[in-house]
């Protein structure tokens, strides 16, 4: 297991990615051995409001000349993320990381992998895509968003997929860019057309993950989902972020997840 630590980090850069989403680069002198799917708990300021850290998926880690840069992508949805959006470069924060498990990144003989993203579910999947590209493991990348303006990092996604001869499929709910409709519909059309994937890796809003679970179960496809649940501690002691498994148990998604294989999940995931 990779050691989790409470890192002193500095906001090194902050960039808007869309009208609602932004990127934060966090610098630390410590090494951060994170794998795609893992996350960190980031403070969003000083004081007691907001009280808790924010659970954020890691989008990438680069170490250069004794400094580690951890990349996070964040959607502004409330007070904590608004504070982060306005954190000035140079701000000192704390990052408890890396936490949780990661996606299975091994190749599946004779097929490609299918990577599926909805909205701000991009960071762990993009992290996976770039690592798969570096390892020459083939994949297609499906990225969906509400609108064209909310499609994040399109160029980078295209580059990662192209590196292994894969396709980048873009979809928007409003049809303003890419294919009109849900990302899971685009996946289904290609599966119907004979596309075969040895494993699906996905992150996105719960309705998208539920649709994907149904699709994967109907077709007996292996699939791993990175889930998001309200989380207080990130280290398995608050039991707030539990996910219900098929055997009826509630397990902490911060420790046994956030990545779960669809065949372990309880029925509410394939209604």
């Amino acid at each position: 297991m990779i050691a989790r630590r409470d890192l002193a980090v500095r906001v090194a850069a902050r960039t808007d990615l869309s009208p609602t989403c932004f990127r934060v680069i966090l610098e630390t002198v410590d090494e951060v051995a994170a794998v795609p799917g893992q996350f960190g708990m980031l403070t969003c300021g000083v004081g007691f409001d907001p009280l808790l850290r924010r659970a954020l998926s890691i989008a990438g880690v680069v170490r250069r000349e004794g400094v580690t840069c951890v990349e996070m992508m964040v959607k502004e949805i409330g007070r904590g993320t608004t504070l982060l959006r306005h954190a000035s470069v140079g701000s000192r924060l704390r990052l408890l990381a890396p936490l949780g498990n990661g996606f299975t990144l091994t190749a599946v003989e004779g097929t490609r992998l299918g990577l599926i993203v909805g909205g701000i579910g991009l960071p762990p999947v993009l992290f996976a895509a770039e690592q798969l590209a570096a390892r020459k493991v083939g994949f297609d990348l499906y990225v969906g968003a509400a609108s064209g303006a909310e499609l994040l990092e399109v160029e980078r996604c295209g580059k990662a997929a192209a590196a292994v001869g894969g396709e980048l499929v873009l979809t928007t709910d409003d049809g303003s860019a890419g294919e009109h409709g849900f990302v899971t519909d685009a996946l289904q059309r290609r599966l119907d057309g004979g596309c075969a994937y040895g494993r699906l890796l996905a992150c996105g809003p719960n309705p998208m993950l539920a649709a994907l679970t149904r699709l994967a179960r109907d077709r007996a496809l292996a699939a791993e989902l990175s889930l998001e649940e309200p989380m207080a501690c990130g280290v398995g002691v608050c039991l707030g972020c539990v996910v219900e498994l098929e055997d009826g148990r509630y397990v902490a998604s911060c420790k046994e997840g956030p990545v779960f294989s669809v065949d372990r999940l309880a029925e509410r995931w394939w209604p």
């Binding site: 989790r4 808790l52 309200p230 398995g236 707030g240 539990v242 509630y250």
Partner: protein, 306 residues
């Protein structure tokens, strides 16, 4: 100046007055690299029932202003698994372990205590009679002095170890429940448990928590907890109190001690910072250095009322 942090809660000796609170520190072994249990005054386990409990459906937690509301529903591995899997390691480490005991009926509290009585290396018990998030047990004992005294007496008869009762801030008459627990034979009182609360989603017009309501914790409840510790201390000055509610700093500890606490528990702060209890111990030591306090225990009940 050599500050002495050691203190006692009744007959129980602690190397410092800071314990990790039930439900915020797992079974004592979950955060070893941030906060080794033996470095604290003690650890209170997640509430243990005779058999494992699944807990409530989700969402179970919601953040509020300077606080959070939880409705976990006492999900736990059960007393047997605790005794077999966690306790031996805690014993080796030399941690002071207080078992938080929960049951839906009086017999279930006894079942947990009886199982623990077969084990060495436990410092005492804390009866959970104040969980706002379960339908049976918990509050029905914690809110009514008559069944509370009976439950405490029955548990008292089952053990010679220190017996604490964790009081509910939601009881109609806090002091009456405090007196009832003492009459039943409690060695000390822990206060307060979470404050019954709710959060509403204005868009969906529904409660945010699946359970509808839950228990509020964090800095938001600290003033309520301080007031309650002081009231109970005045009512039963000879009874040791363990203060809990929104403690985030060493100064917070001093405030609780002045109000009448002999020791304190740190809970929600651990969710913000897994090393919080250790940091708080260090801050307490600094406070004592700065204020020329020879022994923390001397501050207990030292509030100067105007």
């Amino acid at each position: 100046m050599n500050v002495r942090l050691d203190t006692t809660v009744g007959s129980l000796k602690l190397t410092n007055p800071v314990l990790a609170a039930s439900g915020t520190f797992g079974y004592g072994l979950d955060l070893l690299e941030f906060c080794p249990p033996e470095s604290l005054g003690g650890v209170v386990t997640k509430g243990l029932s005779p058999r494992p409990r699944r807990g409530n459906p989700t969402p179970r937690i919601v953040e509020t202003a300077a606080g959070m509301i939880n409705a976990i529903g006492l999900q736990n591995i059960g007393v047997e698994a605790f005794c077999r899997e966690a306790l031996p390691q805690l014993r080796v480490r030399g941690a002071v372990v207080v078992v938080n005991v929960f049951g839906e009926r009086m017999e279930e509290y006894l079942e947990v205590i009886d199982r623990c009585e077969a084990e060495d290396g436990l410092a005492g018990y804390e009866l959970n009679v104040s969980c706002p998030n379960v339908t049976a047990g918990g509050m029905e004992f914690g809110h009514d002095p008559v069944p509370l005294e009976r439950l405490t007496a029955i548990c008292r008869a089952a053990t010679r170890r220190p017996l604490w009762v964790k009081l509910s801030p939601n009881a109609p008459d806090l002091v009456a429940t405090a007196r009832a627990a003492v009459a039943g034979g409690a060695d000390a009182l822990t206060l307060i448990n979470t404050v019954r609360a709710m959060a509403i989603d204005a868009d969906t017009r529904r409660p945010i928590l699946a359970n509808g309501f839950g228990g509020l914790s964090g800095p938001a409840v600290k003033p309520i907890a301080l007031r309650m510790v002081w009231e109970v201390h005045k009512a039963v000055p000879a009874v040791p109190l363990v203060g809990i509610g929104g403690i985030e700093t060493g100064r917070d500890v001093v405030e609780f001690v002045l109000a009448g606490a002999s020791a304190v528990q740190v809970g929600t702060a651990i969710f913000r910072d897994p090393a919080a209890p250790l940091r708080i111990v260090a801050e307490l030591e600094t406070f004592c250095d700065d204020h020329k306090v020879a022994r923390v225990a001397e501050l207990t009940g030292g509030l100067q009322w105007r």
